[in-house]
């Protein structure tokens, strides 16, 4: 219920105010919100309503910042649409600003049927000078399009598909059907990116010829020509060429202003217009050089060339100079052609080569390039400068061409001064030595003899080594044996015991015959005792009969043998210390007994061992 009431109320309010607002309005407007200091401008206050006659008491805002030139000027209009009358009443003022800055025009008031209406305030910006737009000039001149149809620059290439390093000639031609009024000036030069460029000579003054192009007759002049040598492969672009051309253009009649025409141009109505002409950009497709069968000496020359070599001397002395000229002539990228490598033989000192190029820049780039090598031979002999090779790629034949010169043989004779400048390489010690002279010869020559091989290969040497060695070995061997025997005295004594005993007995027998019994007994006892000592290994100092009989017993001696021995010894002792009268018979008996005993002992005890 309440909602419904509210709705109705709202709708009635909207309707009521809507009808009112449509019925009357009062607005302010200005023809230019931004004005120059010296400009005039108009401010309008407009009242729209059903009955404009009811408008009373206009109160204008304060125009204190402006100068009021005219106003208020009143104007009204009425219209009847479908029987409904509506009208508008406008109050206008023409104002001029007094000073620079931003200003506000305040509210204007008006009374209508007892109600006060007001406008909203206006903002005015005052600037220096005049904000008025310039008057259009184009109204009486020819259009740019029209000029472009009649004046243009064409960039023309002779080939659009070339090999790397092959010449492309680009020509810039000016086509015109208009009169050129004055000196043209270049506004933009083309850029030859990826090319080595060489300007082709063109006459300083452009000679115009007549040429038909697209059905129209043009005057054509060559502006510029350039030879381009691509230095990289792929699609390369030459940027446009810009030229500022002042053209003379006939003025269009702007009216029957006879005086204008008369005073401006008595010879025809025309004006000068600076037209900026631009050429098309050019695309060139650069192919790489074939990679097969590339000669060893090829280093980038493309075109058509010939090779020529010249040498000024064939025979000279050391330290004289020699010049070798290598000339390459022909057409192509001559400037990029490096002089061919020359392998000079050793013994030549070579200096930096001088290169001289003469290039003819007319059409295709051609000319000659001469490289001069200065050589100074330092050592004598027959020298050979090997054949010089030069290779290039011929784009028309699509193949590589190798040229080669003849080798030169040169006779170098020894000059006067041998390596005089080599002194610098001597070290300090060397210089000291160079000042000295060699020592004098040896005057004694006793050492001079037939040369022979080394001593060690001679038999005499080995004999001299071998003889002392053998002698030494033999001597040492003999000594060894001696030492071995000498080392065992007992053995020696044992072996000699019988011999000594025999000789002693022999001596004793002689003594017996000589009747020298004292000596005889001492000899006999020595023979017996010595024999026993030696045989039984008993030292002399320890010898006694008991000891001897013990030793014999140990060696399985028989009892009667010991008894015999005892008898013999006792007899000997007895006779030695108690000599009696019956000496000769006793001596004989003792001699026989002793001999018997020794023989017995030898037989029974030692014979086995001895055997």
């Amino acid at each position: 219920m309440i909602i419904r009431l509210t709705k109705i109320f709202l709708i009635s309010v909207i309707l009521f105010f809507g009808g009112l607002s449509y019925a009357q309005s009062f607005t302010a407007s200005v023809n230019n919100a931004t004005v120059g200091l010296n400009d005039q401008f108009e401010v309008d206050f407009i009242f729209n309503g059903k009955d404009i006659n009811g408008v009373r008491n206009l109160t204008p805002p304060n125009f204190s910042n402006f100068l009021v030139l005219t106003g208020p000027n009143q104007s009204s209009s009425m219209q009847i649409i479908n029987g409904a009358v509506s009208g508008s009443l406008t109050f206008s003022y023409v104002l001029q600003p007094k000073s620079l800055g931003k200003f506000t025009i305040g509210k204007a008031y008006v009374e209508y049927n007892g109600t006060r209406y007001n406008t909203s305030p206006l903002e005015i910006t005052v600037i220096k000078g005049s904000a008025k737009p310039q008057q259009q000039q184009n109204s009486n001149s020819i259009s740019t399009k029209e000029i472009a149809d009649n004046l243009f620059i064409r960039a023309i290439v002779d080939r659009s598909r070339v090999y790397l390093g092959q010449q492309v000639t680009v020509t810039y031609k000016l086509y015109t059907r208009l009169n050129i009024a004055a000196q043209m000036s270049i506004s933009k030069l083309p850029q030859y990116q990826g090319f080595w460029s060489e300007e082709i000579e063109t006459p300083n003054n452009i000679n115009f010829t007549t040429e038909m192009y697209e059905g129209k007759q043009f005057k054509v002049g060559i502006l510029k020509k350039a030879a381009l040598f691509p230095s990289q492969t792929g699609k390369l672009t030459v940027t446009p060429f810009g030229l500022n051309v002042p053209v003379q253009i006939k003025k269009k009649k702007t009216g029957n202003n006879f005086f204008d025409d008369f005073f401006n141009d008595p010879f025809g109505s025309s004006q000068v217009y600076n037209y900026d002409a631009k050429s098309n950009s050019v695309k060139v497709d650069v192919m790489p050089l074939p990679s097969s069968n590339v000669p060893k000496s090829f280093n980038g020359a493309v075109g058509s060339f010939s090779l020529n070599t010249d040498i000024n001397k064939r025979k000279l002395k050391t330290n004289e100079s020699l010049s070798l000229k290598v000339t390459i002539s022909g057409s192509g990228n001559l400037n990029l052609v490096n002089p061919p490598e020359v392998n000079f033989p050793n013994g030549f000192e070579k200096y930096e080569p001088k290169t001289n190029a003469q290039i003819n820049r007319k059409g295709t780039i051609s000319g000659t390039k001469t490289t001069e090598y200065l050589l100074v031979p330092r050592t004598p002999g027959k020298k050979v400068i090997p054949a010089i090779e030069f290779s290039y790629f011929d784009p028309y034949k699509r193949s590589y061409v190798t040229l080669s010169s003849k080798p030169y043989s040169i006779d170098v004779e020894q000059g006067a001064n041998i390596a005089s400048d080599d002194n610098s390489s001597f070290s300090k010690e060397d210089v000291k030595l160079l000042g000295e002279d060699i020592r004098y010869i040896k005057t004694s020559f006793y050492d001079v003899e037939k040369s022979s091989s080394f001593i060690i290969y001679k038999t005499g040497f080995w004999a001299a080594v071998g003889v002392p060695l053998f002698a030494f070995v033999a001597l040492v061997g003999w000594k060894k044996r001696e030492d071995k025997l000498a080392g065992n005295v007992q053995q020696l004594k044992f072996r000699r015991a019988e011999k000594i005993a025999k000789s002693r007995l022999k001596k004793a027998k002689k003594l017996m015959e000589a009747n020298n019994h004292k000596e005889f007994y001492s000899e006999i006892s020595q023979a017996l005792f010595g024999y026993l000592e030696d045989k039984l290994h008993i030292p002399k100092s320890e010898f006694s009969f008991e000891r001897a009989s013990d030793e014999i017993k140990k060696k399985n001696g028989k009892e009667d043998l010991i008894e015999q021995l005892k008898n013999s010894i006792e007899k000997c002792e007895y006779v030695r210390f108690a000599p009696n009268a019956d000496e000769s018979s006793a001596m004989n008996g003792i001699y026989t007994d002793t001999s018997k005993v020794i023989i017995e002992i030898e037989k029974n005890i030692f014979s086995r061992k001895m055997a």
């Binding site: 002279d437 060699i438 020559f445 001079v448 003899e449 001593i455 040492v476």
Partner: protein, 252 residues
């Protein structure tokens, strides 16, 4: 029979005497020519002896001197080196060889050797091969004597001395034998040569058509490593290798 032997001996003696007198004569002529400044004549006389197969320190040294004075540096160095082989410590030869070497054009840097090797090299060339042979023989005899004393001496003191003395001599003997062996081996396997032409381009191979490797000049000592037809492969002290016609080089 006896008389035949006698005749033979006498004739041999005469021949020997005649030869000896010829040597004396040629040496004397050479020395006189040198003294008078006729270096070419001196060279001719000395060379005659060399061609007949004679050798000697004085012969090679004098010949080197004569060549030096005659301006033939290569031959001079060649003969000095020959003389030095016979007498490695001869001061005169060393001095003249140093002067001759100073006059050569090529200054080839030899890498400095480790001092141990330097000592070793100077030890090797302390005596000539002949000298080392004599030393080895002397040491051999000394060893025999020491051993003899050891075996025949009576007192233990003398025996001890002779034993240790003999050991020391034995060590020296073995060292000398090693050095002698190395020297003989070197003499037979390592061939040195001297460049005898003023300048020659060493080729990369044993053929005229080969490329030049380097240029060397008179008097340079090189090692001869190989021989193909009449080309020799040489190695310089700095390790460079090249081939030369064998006419341009003389073997020491």
């Amino acid at each position: 029979m006896k008389s035949l032997v006698k005749i033979l001996i006498i004739s041999a003696l005469i021949a020997n005497f005649a030869l000896a007198s010829q040597v004396d004569e040629l040496m004397k002529q050479g020395n006189d020519a040198y003294k008078n400044g006729n270096y070419k004549d001196a060279v001719t006389n000395y060379e005659k002896l060399v061609h007949q197969g004679y050798e000697g320190v004085s012969l090679f040294y004098n010949l080197g001197n004569a060549y030096y004075k005659d301006g033939k540096l290569g031959y001079a160095i060649l003969n000095y080196e020959k003389a030095l082989r016979l007498s490695p410590n001869d001061d005169d030869i060393q001095h003249n060889l140093a002067i001759a070497n100073a006059k050569t054009v090529d200054k080839i840097d030899t890498l400095p050797k480790f001092f141990v090797f330097q000592i070793w090299e100077s030890l090797l060339s302390f005596f000539s091969i002949k000298g080392w042979t004599y030393l080895v023989y002397s040491l051999f005899i000394l060893i025999l004597i020491a051993a003899g004393i050891y075996f025949f001496a009576k007192g233990p003191g003398i025996q001890r001395y002779s034993f240790f003395g003999g050991l020391a001599i034995l060590f020296l003997f073995i060292m000398s034998v090693i050095i002698l062996t190395i020297n003989i081996n070197r003499d037979q396997n390592v061939k040195q040569g001297v460049i005898i032409v003023q300048s020659v381009s060493a080729k990369l191979g044993p053929d005229v058509n080969n490329n030049d490797a380097f240029v060397i000049h008179e008097g340079l000592e090189v090692r001869i490593e190989d021989r193909v037809d009449n080309w020799v492969k040489i190695r310089l002290n700095d390790g460079k290798v090249g081939w030369l016609p064998d006419d341009d080089i003389a073997q020491i």
